[in-house]
């Protein structure tokens, strides 16, 4: 089930992460992690592990503690208590070792827009000590992967938002990290660009031996993950595969079109004791195991049915059932609006 299980920490430092031998050891393991900013407790004791090759997503509203957790894992912040190990090294005491093994794509751009794309990548290669002979071929490879090699000599300031994000993904991969961290990789992008970014990420999963850790507050993006942790108010409230999480909600949504909706609603109540209502022009109700319910529906419902659709619960339903609120309501505090404003402000000054 989707409850948080306290995973036992692997305390003995196993083989180096650089070898394939380490594949049994989790690539990321976090235990009892907390982070306090003044009076605010951003992270309130979380535990999880990410296996090698996995795509693991942190799903939650803004301010839930996603970015704080990623900052600790990426060595950009100290934990108040607890431990975090990334690629076989302690994220707090072995920063450099962790840094060598991770690639980062932040939610706000971290490119130098006054340099060309190639200059940005070269800067990164030198900073990460990529062997000199490998710099150009690897640059070519990662830029090809995101379809930007032809534009390598353009100033980054001439790139669109989606191109900049793609370039950042390429840069994050340049030094062949074992773990790629993506903090809200598609925030602020239009839907078409978002889906193209995901096409690149999925392609990347096929081509490189890499573990991906990402945060998102988009439900549909969480679907791309092998496993998801739902985080709310600094705590993990559920952690499992998207399928298992959705199954844990227990009920499927059934929508039927009938000749007489009012009669159908009455008959459903009478025959099955189900409360149905009209949503989106169809009689809608929730039942466990929807597919198995449909045959009974046809035999026992007297009202003629024109069409039936059964849908699994969405991650929206999952989030709702674990936190008692929708992700949009949780963000009603307006952090998204603030971010949008900040981005406009920055764009204006550039």
């Amino acid at each position: 089930m989707a409850l948080v299980t306290h995973t036992s920490m692997n305390t003995d430092d196993a083989a180096a992460p650089d070898g394939a031998a380490a594949s049994r050891e989790p690539v990321i393991s976090v235990s009892g992690l907390t982070k306090q900013y003044g009076d605010v407790q951003a992270v309130r004791g979380i535990d999880f592990e990410v296996a090698r090759g996995e795509t693991f997503g942190f799903l939650g509203p803004n301010g839930a503690g996603k970015t704080t957790t990623i900052k600790i894992l990426c060595t950009l912040a100290n934990a108040t208590s607890g431990t975090a190990r990334v690629a076989g090294h302690d994220a707090i005491t072995e920063r450099d070792a962790v840094r060598r093994n991770i690639g980062l794509v932040f939610q706000d751009t971290t490119l130098d827009t006054y340099l060309t794309a190639e200059q940005n990548l070269r800067f990164h290669a030198e900073l990460y000590g990529v062997p000199k002979a490998a710099v150009v071929p690897r640059m070519h490879q990662v830029m090809d992967m995101v379809g930007l090699w032809e534009r390598k000599d353009s100033l980054v300031s001439t790139y669109s938002g989606g191109m900049q994000r793609r370039l950042e993904i390429a840069r994050g991969l340049l030094h062949a990290p074992h773990v790629l961290f993506l903090d809200e990789p598609t925030v602020g992008l239009d839907p078409q660009t978002r889906s193209s970014i995901w096409a690149y990420i999925n392609d990347l999963k096929r081509r490189e031996d890499i573990t991906i850790f990402l945060t998102t507050h988009y439900m549909d993006e969480a679907e791309h993950c092998d496993r998801i942790a739902i985080i709310d108010h600094g705590k993990i409230v559920a952690i499992d595969t998207p399928e298992a999480l959705k199954a844990s909600v227990g009920k499927d949504r059934v929508q039927i079109h009938t000749d007489d909706d009012a009669a159908a609603i009455g008959a459903l109540k009478e025959a099955f004791g189900i409360e149905a209502a009209v949503h989106e022009g169809a009689v809608t109700f929730s039942v466990p195991a929807g597919e198995q319910f449909v045959p009974r529906l046809f035999t026992e419902l007297t009202v003629p049915i024109r069409s039936v659709s059964v849908s699994r619960p969405s991650l929206d339903d999952v989030f709702m059932s674990y936190t008692g609120t929708t992700i949009r309501d949780a963000e009603a505090s307006g952090t998204d609006a603030m971010r949008a404003m900040a981005q406009r402000f920055r764009a204006g000054r550039r």
């Binding site: 650089d18 394939a20 594949s23 296996a51 090698r52 090759g53 996995e54 795509t55 900052k71 990426c74 060595t75 950009l76 912040a77 100290n78 920063r95 450099d96 070792a97 840094r99 060598r100 093994n101 991770i102 980062l104 932040f106 706000d108 751009t109 971290t110 490119l111 130098d112 827009t113 006054y114 340099l115 200059q119 070269r122 800067f123 990164h124 030198e126 900073l127 990460y128 000590g129 990529v130 062997p131 490998a134 071929p137 690897r138 490879q141 840069r171 340049l174 030094h175 062949a176 081509r207 490189e208 031996d209 092998d226 496993r227 595969t241 399928e243 920055r346």
Partner: protein, 299 residues
Amino acid sequence: MATTTTEAAAASGPGLVEQIRVAVPERGLRHDLRATGIVWRRELIRFRTDRLRAITALIQPVLFLFVLGTGLSSLAGGNMPPGISFKTFIYPGVLAMSVLFTAIFSAASIVWDREFGFLREILVAPVSRASIVIGKCLGGATIATFQGIIFLILAGFAGVPYNPVLIIVLIGELLLLSFTLTAFGVMMAARIKQFQAFMALTQMLVMPLFFLSGALYPLSGLPAWLSVLTRIDPLTYIVGPMRHAVFSHLSMPAAFEQRFSPAITWAGWAVPLGLSLGIVAVMGAGMMAIAIAEFRKTE
């Protein structure tokens, strides 16, 4: 689904992936030097592509030298020996000024980078903070010196001879000054997070530093309060040697040189030129060390 993916990745291993092997090395001196090199090179690239900055940075010293220098010549002219103008007198100080803004502005880009996120790209790199700060200070020093060299081309208009030895000495002194100024800026930028605040604070400090350095007037015969303030100003210890270098390549009566380019004194003791330059160098190194310590901190 999770398990299948994990197993597939584990089974295939790196063999399946047509990947260029890019093992990031353990940290070492060579790696740190490459980091310093690229941070330095980024400053140069940005200076080269930003011609407008180089031109605007030239405007202020040109105004001081030609407008203020020419205008005040009629006042000061009577005191000058034949062949030496007031412009010649203020040239070394204005030359020092020509690197001031470029050096500080180069450090300001750290604040800028922080606001636009690029600093984070630098700070998560597996290199020592020292290599980054040193690269930044040397980069700022280099481009500020270039800026100074542009102004150095105008030396002839101020009656300063194009003597190769003099030019080399002045460039060396400019490099030292630029380094210390950039280190000062980087130290400030490590703490100050807002661009506006940084610019306001540096502007507030830069003009007093310039005015108290003796760039526009001789340090001899000053009232006690001003005399003390000039000795506190670090810029004094570079303007003095620069003027000394220029004056030693001009022919003038010894009395005049005594009066207009006196040695910097501490309670009557003349500070040797070497010590004067040493003070500037030590200050630069000290401020750079503070900056490195600041960048080592993690939230």
